[in-house]
Symmetry: C3
Subunit: 380 residues, 3 copies
């Protein structure tokens, strides 16, 4: 199965030059550019992931952990920075939301479902699962509190939302570093699944360890191409969304998120089929934690340097609800350290229900400014 | 205790002809008709349950499971169809809400409390309990998402709420069949409690296995009488509610739900006293799951054929909150596979608190149309 | 460490006469009076706690449990009664909220964090932890339901909120007594941690058992001084808050709560360092349960006798959200009966995030009357 998946992904590299060509030849054909940019990012994200892994294998666990943290979600980060630079905060937030729920519902759901079809009951380390679930809850709280604040404080609180976001971001990122310290240093024996990340590829043909130079060059080239393609992607997302009859919120939360996380998808499912649930869960759930506790705060900090104006942490209510529901279901499912196919189906069902809601939600309701619900005057 | 309970229930059959008589002689005496119809349904629901069980025992586990799914909550389903036919969607939804929270708070609470008074600590299969808790969470999400959608989308989203409800219903029902497949086929050894359903009655005097013909005839007669009595009940519910000083929401959620689930109540408590907590939990919680993942979607589908207009899944906010709280408490209580009387008392306390809120809630706030909260203009 | 902490607390007794002097000499210097009253309550709360413990050790477990229930949170109760007497319901509720979240996030968080730095993994009785978590959930439901009721019922429901609060209070207090019966009588073997409360001090130098007379006299003197100081504190809280640039909600929820719970803080951390997590959790979480299920209902009852008007249970939305998030995180963290420093850090992070939100929230949004969210007319 791996041999089938891999070649097909690398074939998609052809879309990198195609996207470049289209961008200059037909700058107004947004829909075609969007589709090609999406297809071009898929294999690039895969190569970025490989380069990071090989580099991490060479630099030792501690530095490798940090590299994973910074480059593991590099595709999402770069897409988000490109949108941030244009001041498209709604797109940034939609891609964060989409990554969080996509990883814990779609990636974890597919992994648990596929693994469960092959293995009756799959076990994973419950201590690690619970620590991850609690970190996810903290991430959810980091989204709930600004939304509730906005909702309650009203106009009087608007001026303080930037400071609130900044301080919450500091707390979230501190806790992210604390969790790295926990899993890489003080309690590394408790969370063994993560350490065996490299073994998976090491034992397979065609995956010999890369040289340091090759890893660095691949990393830089892939990052550069993703950065450029992301710029093009973000520039075309709104027009493309409309031509498909989709809202930009749906495209950001569902379409872009699936593309940005394509590498995690295939790896997590493959290792689940091999009954390595600890690794599978740590890729899926760990990726969501990185996005929420590291990437999101980083983007808030970056917005003070890069963007036209500082970004806050005010997500749309539907995004907050989606993240809270996804986190709650994941916490419930993972607490016992066992999984079966029905639990995978349930995670997927929640993802589909949320996706349906995002699809049907009118464009106007998908902006953070509508965090205050409509009063009776507008509804009745 | 059983001998005391059973005869008294069958005596209530006298109210079937009384209700028929009243309905034709005094069609305007809604309060008396409502009370008599309630009393008439109690024994009929019991006979319907017995017939289903005996039929299930004859047809084998797989078909029996489906029969239980379709007829186990037949009384609620018929009451709901009668209301659906008249376009009383609020009554339908109130009875669904009432069945869900009534089963997991009142029925499970009484069972755990009564069983816990007799047995210090009662154990049940934690794997099964967790699967059921996750299914309940999915059911809750199926209610939360349409309510949040309505709240956020505002007038622009009204036209899409029907499609949203229809698609979510498909997801919920697919997952219900997946859960049947899981517990009756792929993982039937994990969820043994359900299989011992028949044993309980089999070992008792006066509960010899019925013939196929007797089961079918009882099923048809009981179903027919319940259908007719439900029509009468639904026709009188609003007038009766007002004459008792109750809102129709309270009558639907609390009174009708207790009547429709009377059969489950007595069985679940009796088996809890015999320390068969797996069976007791599977009757109480399983019934809620059936209602939420099978009956509710079925009613949405049926509304396209039967009713004057399609029904959506938009419940009143207080119903959504009640179901979410009930599901959260049940998930928390059942995750460890152990119960004691205090946990039963806590479930009952949550039911009483919710019941008080439903009782005091003004009539106007009990309609789904008020899902948008009052703005400051109306409150201050 | 204990010897360092204890003497410093007793030195603060000097602030009792200082506060008395200031109150009469400079009645308008609210800020100085507030600070001195805070410092004076710290050692008094400690002595009140010691006296209760010694008394409980003499009277046997059953009566001791009740004494702990009534006097264990006596400082908070007296502060609240002083505020109730002046009709400052917002202050009363803020101090209840602050005690609940302060105990389960700050006290438990510091205990788990400090204990976790010294001991790699700390274990506690999971059955007891789950019973406590479920009681906390009930407490949260007791806050959610009145808030949702107010939000939905609108003006039509205002008249019934008093009755709703009264009936919910009865349910909560009944369940509190049920939980005492459970842990002191029917299931006392299951919840052993509580019983070893006295041992901690018994084995330490300078903590010989007090005579009955000494306990009673200390109890009465400390109670009297706290009562008087609380009156002064409550009288100065609003002016002091403004001079510090803080809202009265922030002062009530964060500052007053930390002061009122200072005694629990030091004890819970000290026993966590000694790896007695059962006792530490029972002090922190048990104290929150007492506040929510015993003190809050008691204050509702008391408001019919003492205050200018009856108090309801309608907390501000931000308080409800804070309690719900705190309860959810605590339930998640404690369900496995194990703790480590990262979990302590996560509880503290949630406390800090909530504290930031309370700090930035404008004064106007901190009143219960704004439970209805602003409509679009005011925001857009």
């Amino acid at each position: 199965m791996k041999r089938l998946l891999k070649p097909s992904l690398d074939w998609l590299l052809i879309f990198v030059p195609i996207t470049i060509g289209l961008h200059y030849a037909f700058p107004d054909n947004h829909t075609l550019i969007f589709v090609c940019a999406c297809l071009a990012i898929l294999p690039l994200a895969g190569w970025l992931g490989h380069a990071t892994e090989h580099l991490a294998a060479r630099t030792g666990e501690a530095v490798g952990g940090l590299l994973n943290a910074t480059f593991g979600n590099a595709a999402e980060l770069i897409i988000a920075l490109a949108a941030l630079n244009r001041g498209l905060h709604d797109v940034v937030k939609a891609s964060l939301t989409g990554s969080i729920i996509g990883n814990i519902l779609l990636v974890a759901g597919l992994s648990v479902f596929a693994g469960g079809l092959k293995h009756k009951v799959q076990k994973f380390n419950p201590v690690n699962a619970r620590v991850q679930a609690t970190l996810l809850s903290l991430a959810a709280i980091g989204l709930i509190v600004p939304a509730v604040f906005h909702w309650l404080a009203g106009p009087a609180g608007l001026a303080r939302e930037g400071a609130l976001a900044l301080e919450i971001s500091v707390v979230l990122m501190l806790l992210y570093f604390a969790s790295l310290l926990f899993s890489l240093h003080t309690h590394k024996n408790l969370v063994r699944g993560v350490a065996s990340h490299e073994e998976v590829h090491a034992g397979e043909p065609g995956h010999k360890s890369w040289s340091f130079a090759r890893s660095i060059v691949t990393l830089l080239v892939a990052t550069g191409l993703i950065a450029w393609t992301s710029e093009v992607l973000v520039g075309s997302v709104e027009s493309a969304a409309h031509s498909f009859g989709m809202t930009s919120l749906f495209v950001g939360v569902v379409v872009v998120a699936i593309i940005g996380n394509a590498a995690e998808h295939s790896t997590a499912i493959l290792v689940a089929l091999k009954n390595r649930m600890d690794l599978s869960m740590s890729i899926a759930v760990g990726s969501s934690i990185q996005i929420a506790l590291f990437v999101a705060p980083l983007l808030v900090f970056a917005s003070y340097v890069l963007g036209p104006r500082p970004m806050d942490l005010l997500f749309t209510p539907v995004e907050v609800v989606a993240v809270v529901l996804a986190v709650a279901v994941t916490a419930q499912f993972s607490s016992d350290g066992e999984s079966n196919w029905l639990e995978g189906a349930m995670l997927l069902a929640v993802y589909v229900i949320l996706g349906i809601a995002f699809y049907f939600l009118p464009e106007a309701a998908g902006h953070a400014g509508t965090a205050a619900p409509p009063g009776p005057g507008t509804v009745h």
